[in-house]
Amino acid sequence: MTLATTRTDDVALVDLLDRLLAGGVVITGDLTISLADVELVHISLRALISSVDKLIEQ
């Protein structure tokens, strides 16, 4: 077993996004991340993945 800390910068961004985009109290503020916005982040993540893939291919 490995124990990963959740303090400081060691937290994996993926773990954070799991929680920050899907967790937390959802309140309709005057401005709130909507499901469509979460999808937008996922699209950006996919774009990142494909650019990483291209780098690896080169």
């Binding site: 077993m1 990963a4 959740t6 303090r7 920050l20 899907a22 967790g23 937390g24 993540l45």
Partner: protein, 255 residues
Amino acid sequence: MNDHSVYLYAIGDAALADSDALAYSTGVEAGPLRTIVEGPLAAVVASVDRNQFSEQSLHAHLEDLEWVEKLARTHHEVVDRIAQNHSIAPVRMATVYLTDDGIRELLQSRCSELAATLDRVRGRSEWGVKGYAAPVDEASTPERDASSSDTPGTSYLMRRRAQRDRSAHRRERLATVAEKLHEEFAALAVDSRVYPPQDPRLTGRRDEMVLNAAYLVDEAGAALLARLVDAAPEELQLELTGPWAPYSFTNLEAT
């Protein structure tokens, strides 16, 4: 204050207003943290530039992963620091109000729900468990003997197919093991939540993720969980993360 909006991080007890944790943290865009107290509840907020956090601007920013990461890390840093000493309900990232009054109204109108959520996480923390299928040692998998009737091409394809079948079978088996373990973990938790497996290209690990879950536990539960995770079969590589602020267990559906 017309050029500012109010970024909401978390909700906690009114006592938060006197917390040292606020003094040492800076919020998104370096705004100082402050609290808005209403009845038994306090909201942890920071003023942010209204233009930076307009609907349009936010939408554009969310396509910028560097910006998303910075926001996520800042949000987490603030929430995490407070959660070390206080029971809080973290709020979904990028929840913004135009004025303090909007937040006061929220604390009033949803007081009982928010108080109940706080009570539920009080004295408890969130732990994450991720499980990976440990890589198979290819050298140790038996090579299928090519029979004399096979052409080299056929035998290669047969070997490849057998290998694929073996790994599919193994994946299925490990997924079942992970599911059983999750049930054991969930049994000692107050609540649990299963997330979709993360993309291997984002985790940076080639091993397939077969479990990605969060558990809300008290101190004794956390110790038990760590022990169970430690005792899990080695072919399933488990990673324990925590303690997290209870991000996964403060869901309060929007009304």
